[in-house]
Symmetry: C2
Subunit: 81 residues, 2 copies
């Protein structure tokens, strides 16, 4: 089973990397970009085949290692291979 | 309209950051993790309301700035706000 995890800064946390991308897009002539937020994307291949067990395991991975829950939010989807 | 962009290293490109995460998960006792790939996740708020136009614009942003298409793949979804 494959887990696709998105980790983003919480709303209200300054995102200078996102602002840099926004400015660069502006310089390249892309108009109408009102906000950019950059985060991390992680794909994990799991041996677990039970969806509920996999969901609990990935959630624990996010809380214990992948995301800093003080300033970051995480979300993930599971997909059958 | 909001674009959710995932940028990942192409298959075959070494991903030391992913390997580091995989090792760290192993040390924390998570068994059954057969592969980890790390990429970037970018959310862009667009003024465009036409889906086809937004899709073309985001595709051009990825090719011109966000992704290094020599070693990276990108994929994105559009969502109404």
């Amino acid at each position: 089973m494959k887990a696709r995890i998105r980790i983003t800064l919480k709303n209200g946390v300054l995102d200078p990397q996102g602002k840099a991308i926004q400015n660069a897009l502006g310089s390249l002539g892309f108009a109408g970009v009102s906000d950019v937020r950059q985060g991390k994307y992680i794909e994990i291949d799991l041996a677990a085949t039970d969806e509920a067990a996999a969901r609990a395991e990935v959630d624990r991975m996010c809380r214990e290692l992948l995301a800093n829950t003080v300033i970051e939010d995480y979300a993930f989807e599971l997909a059958k291979p």
